[in-house]
């Protein structure tokens, strides 16, 4: 991008500056530490100059928003056209409790919904299962049957709002309920928009809500993708997630690399199913984290967009530009937030929101300042939502697209992260692909090593963490925490009992029998799932059919 002569001059100038003013200042006063690193451990130089990005080719490496390689964004007008979707992840107690929270959030200017299911639902157990004891409604909403789904979206028209559902191994079941509900509301499936997470690989890597062994669970994932591609064209069929990888301890580059590795595995699986890449790839979506180091995060997003575009074009031979676009949701970094001096978290989240805006995300959840204490209270979630609104409306970050392009540091780091991603993808390929790398624990161990390194840095004081290892103070125990009543368990159990007694037994049994039959063939399970949820089969009953056929999975733990 720069003239050779100009570079020569800069090089000479930099040498002079290094040996002159810098050396002189250092002699008088050393810098605060011998090496500066990002939170990911990447060394950071004193300054960056055109020398660091001498190889950058604007057309090839950056291009224009909405054009290959999408480094600058996936859409030509970005936030000048429309802000990112403001989508707070929420769910607790019964469907009714959560419905009230949704209505409140929509009233406050939230523009999309995001369902946090209770752990029993995520693990494919009903609320009255022995393993659900004590867990019902605790950290997500209890949804056992289509009846709960109806209450959850009561008064919310499914053609007016898009809904993201964090559901993985049982994704087909919850999507089935959502689609059946849309039908009941009279909304045709091609008007229904939203996302299911459906990313089972990262459950095995780092999130823990797996049910079935890798192969059969991937089959369900692909069934869902295939079904939606034919019948629910506006649905994001998967949300390939780096968020949880980062929360588990990875670096920024690892987050992007391992997510892309998962993305490659899903794409490969769909292609092996016989689907044309351009038929499903435009509906693959992603989910990332945003930590407090704004510049590193922006570089990560840009590098990820560029790398994914190349993967789709070169590895999978996609032709449709939409197949090459890395569209993603962001959640701010929960694990960066502290129980100590919780109000400080508002500042961290604001910076993370700013990074998300500068990085060009399509949607965002901001964490609440009480993140390390409990599920967000209404007051805390309101501040979190307002933080997004302030960044969108007041900061100016949304006025121009990819404003950090051309910043020597950010461009250099974008290159560096892209290189790191590529190194990882090559390594994983050499191991026999993502599934093999997971099975050998490679990805898990890389993440845990980073988590360990971070912890050691904090405990040695090498890295400052405000309120944890510096600027600490005595505080009274926090008050005003959100509490979920233990009684939800009984209420849900009673509801289930009634449902089981009152539903049309013959219809219910026929639907489950049919599901069992279909699941043993290569046929897509989705129609049978939808039929079963309409016949009021519960999440647990449906998941049990597959437990029977596919077995349960207990992955190796790599410590």
């Amino acid at each position: 991008m720069f003239d050779e002569k100009v570079l020569e001059k800069i090089k000479a100038g930099k040498e002079k500056w290094d040996q002159g003013p810098v050396a002189k200042t250092l002699a008088k006063a050393p810098e605060q530490k011998p090496v500066f690193t990002t939170i990911s451990g990447t060394p950071v130089e004193r300054i960056y100059t055109p020398l660091d990005i001498a190889g950058l080719d604007y057309e090839r490496d950056l291009g224009f928003p909405g054009q290959f390689p999408y480094t600058r964004g996936v859409q030509p007008t970005m936030y000048r056209g429309r802000y990112w979707t403001m989508r707070q992840y929420a769910g607790f107690g019964s469907a009714k409790d959560t419905n009230a929270r949704y209505r409140y959030l929509l009233q406050q200017g939230q523009t999309g919904l995001s369902v946090a299911f209770q752990l029993p639902t995520q693990a494919g157990y009903d609320s009255d299962h022995p393993l659900s004891m004590g867990e019902v409604g605790k950290v997500g909403v209890a949804v056992d049957s289509i009846e709960d789904m109806k209450v959850l979206f009561d008064g919310i028209p499914l053609d007016k709002v898009t809904t993201s559902m964090t559901i993985n191994a049982p994704a087909t079941v919850l999507l089935g309920m959502y689609l059946a509900l849309a039908e009941e509301q009279g909304v045709p499936w091609d008007k229904v928009g939203g996302t299911v997470q459906n990313d089972v690989l990262k459950e095995i890597i780092c999130r823990g809500q797996y049910i079935y062994p890798p192969k059969p669970t991937m089959r369900l994932t692909v069934d869902l993708i295939e079904f939606c591609q034919k019948h629910v064209p506006r649905w994001n069929t998967i949300s390939i997630s780096g968020y949880h990888i980062r929360e588990s301890g990875s670096t920024a580059a690892q987050e992007m690399a391992f997510t892309i590795a998962d993305g490659i595995a899903y794409t490969q699986a769909c292609v092996e199913r016989g689907m044309d890449v351009d038929s499903f790839a435009p509906r693959l979506s992603f989910f990332f984290n945003a930590f407090t180091n704004v510049l590193e995060e922006v570089a990560k997003f840009r590098a990820g967009r560029r790398y994914w575009a190349k993967v789709m074009r070169d590895r999978f031979k996609a032709k449709d530009p939409r197949s090459m676009m890395l569209r993603y949701h962001v959640q701010t970094g929960g694990v960066t937030l502290t129980a100590q001096q919780p109000l400080n978290n508002i500042v961290r989240v604001a910076l993370q929101t700013y990074a998300t805006a500068l990085g060009g995300a399509q949607s965002l959840h901001t964490n609440s300042y009480d993140e390390a204490l409990c599920l967000p209270t209404q007051e805390a979630v309101t501040v979190a939502l307002r933080t997004q609104q302030i960044v969108a409306e007041e900061s100016g970050a949304t006025d121009t697209i990819d404003p950090l392009a051309g910043c020597y540091y950010v461009e250099k780091m974008t290159d560096q992260i892209e290189q790191d991603i590529d190194d990882y993808i090559k390594k994983i390929d050499a191991m026999g692909g993502t599934l093999a790398a997971i099975e050998q624990g490679f990805i898990q161990k890389e993440i845990q090593n980073s988590a360990y390194r971070f912890q050691k840095e904090i405990e040695s004081g090498e890295r400052i963490y405000v309120g944890i290892n510096k600027y600490t103070m005595e505080e009274p125990p926090p008050t005003n925490l959100l509490k979920v009543d233990m009684s939800v368990g009984d209420v849900e159990a009673a509801k289930l009992k009634k449902l089981r007694a009152e539903r049309d037994q013959a219809k219910w049994k026929a639907a489950l029998d049919n599901l069992r039959k279909v699941s043993q063939t290569d046929e897509n399970v989705m129609p049978a799932v939808i039929e079963a949820v309409k016949a009021k089969a519960t999440v647990g009953e449906i998941c049990d059919v597959w437990r029977d056929i596919y077995g349960q999975y207990r992955p190796k733990e790599f410590v």
Binding site: P213, K215, G432, A436, Q440, R554, K556, E557, F558, V559
Partner: protein, 325 residues
């Protein structure tokens, strides 16, 4: 009141078993008299060794084998060995996780052990622990070794049937075939048969076995079983191979022979260990060993005569040591 551990163990107390095993691991004196009492009750269990490179699927196979054995009404003891860190002395014992499904089955007793510096793929006390579980009444005892390299093959000395687990695509197969690992197999398991290269590996192993038949002349041709342990595929066949090997050993009289050999080795080893321990402890107690080492280092003395000197001292003072026994 002094507890009678042997009695408790024979009466089925898992806690007494657990404590005795800890004492064995710690080389705690309290263990030995209990072991003496238990010994007459051993010799009934059938011992299966599962060995193979790290991550080959040993724990997953064990988990699935337990399931089959339990269906058949057999009770099971598992000893799962993981390495201790040579630097910190600590250990992460991770095999148990994969057997979680059986953790509340009272007829399955799973014990994790760290090697504590012992080489050979097992812990020093593993053979004692097998006896404890045997006396405890377990029908089958499975030993999962550390993920082994090439010469860590102590398992043969302990197991009636040794299963060697191989996986395709590790690239070290031919390598390990040259070394000892292959010779010890009574049953081969080609696990991860869902992976590319499983058939190739199968062929290589079979070819190798054919070669060996002429050398080994044992009358037993190790079968090769393909499994996909995670998906519970091929497990019944594997179990049948193990049973066949057991039948072979029993019918040919080789089981008795094998155990005679094991007992021979073990008796010698126990004498060796105990002698060693007594002398080591005595020498370390007053710092004499350190002083001797220093002197040897400075070439003020040599290790050969030192050894003779110490042994002769020891023989002279045997009555004193006798006390300790």
């Amino acid at each position: 009141m002094k507890r009678d551990y042997a009695k408790e163990i024979l009466a089925g107390s898992p806690q007494a078993v657990a404590r005795l095993i800890s004492w064995l691991e710690d080389e705690d004196e309290r263990a030995y008299s209990i072991m003496e009492e238990l010994y007459p009750h051993t010799g009934r269990a059938y011992v299966i060794g599962i060995t193979g490179s790290p991550g080959a699927g040993k724990s997953t196979l064990t988990d699935k084998l337990i399931r089959i054995m339990r269906k058949g009404g057999l009770t099971v003891g598992v000893v799962a060995v993981d390495p201790s860190s040579p630097f910190t002395g600590g250990a992460l014992l991770g095999d148990r996780i994969r057997m979680s499904d059986h953790s509340t089955d009272p007829e399955v007793y799973i014990r994790s052990m760290a090697t504590r510096g012992f080489l050979g793929g097992m812990a020093k006390a593993t053979c004692d622990v097998v006896k404890v579980l045997d006396a405890f009444g377990k029908d089958i005892i499975i030993i999962e070794t550390v993920g082994v390299g090439q010469d860590e093959v102590d398992i043969v000395g302990l197991a009636d049937t040794t299963c060697v687990v191989l996986v395709p695509g590790l690239g070290d197969v031919i390598q390990s075939m040259k070394a000892g690992v292959m010779e010890i197999a009574d049953v081969y398991v080609v696990n991860k048969a869902d992976r590319d290269g499983a058939d190739q590996l199968n062929m290589e192993v079979n070819a190798r076995i054919e070669q060996d038949i002429h050398i080994k002349m044992s009358g037993w041709v190790p079968p090769v079983n393909k499994t996909i342990a995670v998906d519970n595929v091929g497990m019944q066949d594997l179990w049948e191979s193990i049973l066949k090997h057991r039948a072979f050993l029993e019918e040919s009289g080789r089981l008795v022979e094998k155990r005679r050999k094991q007992t021979y080795q073990e008796t010698l080893r126990m004498i060796h260990n105990e002698l060693f321990r007594l002398i080591r402890d005595q020498l370390s107690e007053d710092g004499r060993l350190d002083r001797l080492v220093e002197e040897i280092l400075e070439r003020k003395r040599d290790p050969y005569s030192t050894m003779r000197e110490i042994l002769s001292e020891w023989l002279d003072s045997t009555p004193k040591y006798k006390e300790a026994l």
